[in-house]
């Protein structure tokens, strides 16, 4: 039944991302052309307020509903991996104009072409699983 709560937060996520226009291919293209502040404003506000919220939750020792502390599992720092992986992701993000969340939300908005984009993303994930041992990490 807990999943109903996550489903509800997901509905809110879908509404927010649609009304913010962050799911628009054109907004992403405009962002990468530095021709509008809109996307930078959204991400910047989310990061600043999100960082404040995470700081406050850690500072005041807020317990999560699963009884744990608010923590973050740090990744091992590997500049080569992060730059390489990020760049591959960025190439795709700028081409299809949406990152994973918006792929689902655009599908809900009636853009059925997202079925293909999601299929591509699942195939990409599977391919990574097959070749991961050969990649620098």
């Amino acid at each position: 039944m807990k999943n109903i709560s996550f489903f509800t937060v997901g509905i809110f996520f879908g509404i927010v991302m649609t009304k913010s226009e962050a799911i628009s291919w054109f907004r992403i293209h405009e962002m990468f052309r530095f021709e509008s502040f809109h996307m930078y404003g959204i991400i910047g506000t989310a990061v600043v307020l999100g960082a404040a919220a995470m700081w406050a939750m850690k500072k005041f020792g807020v317990k999560t509903l699963r009884g744990s502390e608010v923590t973050y599992n740090p990744m091992k720092l590997s500049i080569r991996r992060h730059i390489l992986a990020g760049s591959i992701f960025g190439l795709g993000w700028a081409l299809v104009g949406c990152c994973p969340g918006p792929m689902y939300i655009l599908l809900g908005n009636g853009y059925f072409i997202m079925i293909l984009v999601l299929l591509g993303a699942i195939l990409g994930t599977y391919t990574y699983g097959l070749v991961m041992d050969k990649l620098p990490h």
Partner: protein, 199 residues
């Protein structure tokens, strides 16, 4: 929009595109709620879950994961799909996305017409490029998705995991990954995309 008498409609008010600050604050709220619920904000892991569901865990250890710990994430993205559907049904913006004139002009120069009114299009997806009716459209949709899925798993996270959650936790690996997002994004937007459109 006036706040006097019957001229103010709540639905008209929320049906306008939301200001970036409101949107950013709402995303921070989602991050905080998910964290409070004991989970971390991350969408791309659902792709890995679908590989596991399809049986990939039997062949590749990377996909041999306990799906019980992942159902919340599937529920979250299914909610996202419904949220998108509800928005288009009940909170539909009266105008297409208001992108900048210079972007519209540039796109026109490479053969992509921006919709003038909501009847022509909402300004969400350039369906003349991505569609089921052209081979090019199908290939670009699959290839773009492939790069996103591959890159997200290789980098262990996408925009929600790194650009929002990771940066909010002040993680250096996330910052470097976001720089990578921009290297790839700028390369695609300024060099490769115009070439692809010329094909």
């Amino acid at each position: 929009m006036e706040l006097i008498g019957n001229t103010f409609s709540f639905w008209d008010f929320v049906s306008q595109p939301w200001h970036w600050a409101v949107s950013g604050a709402a995303i921070a709220l989602i991050l905080a709620i998910l964290t409070w619920m004991g989970r971390s904000f991350g969408v791309s892991t659902t792709f890995r879950n679908f590989c596991t569901m399809a049986g990939a865990g039997k062949r590749t250890p990377f996909f041999d994961i306990d799906l019980k710990e992942e159902y919340w994430r599937i529920a979250f993205v299914l909610g996202g799909i419904l949220g998108g559907f509800l928005t288009v049904q009940f909170l539909h913006s009266p105008q297409p996305v208001g992108i900048s004139e210079s972007t519209i002009e540039y796109l026109g120069s490479i053969g992509i017409e921006y919709p003038n009114s909501d009847k022509e299009g909402r300004g969400f997806v350039p369906t003349e490029i991505f569609n089921f009716t052209s081979i090019k459209g199908v290939i670009l949709a699959l290839a773009g998705g492939f790069l996103v899925g591959f890159g997200a798993r290789y980098g262990d996270g996408c925009t929600s995991g790194h650009a929002i959650s990771g940066l909010a936790h002040l993680q250096l690996p996330s910052l470097i990954t976001v720089i990578g997002f921009f290297i790839g994004g700028l390369l695609m937007t300024h060099l490769l995309f115009p070439l692809l459109m010329g094909l």
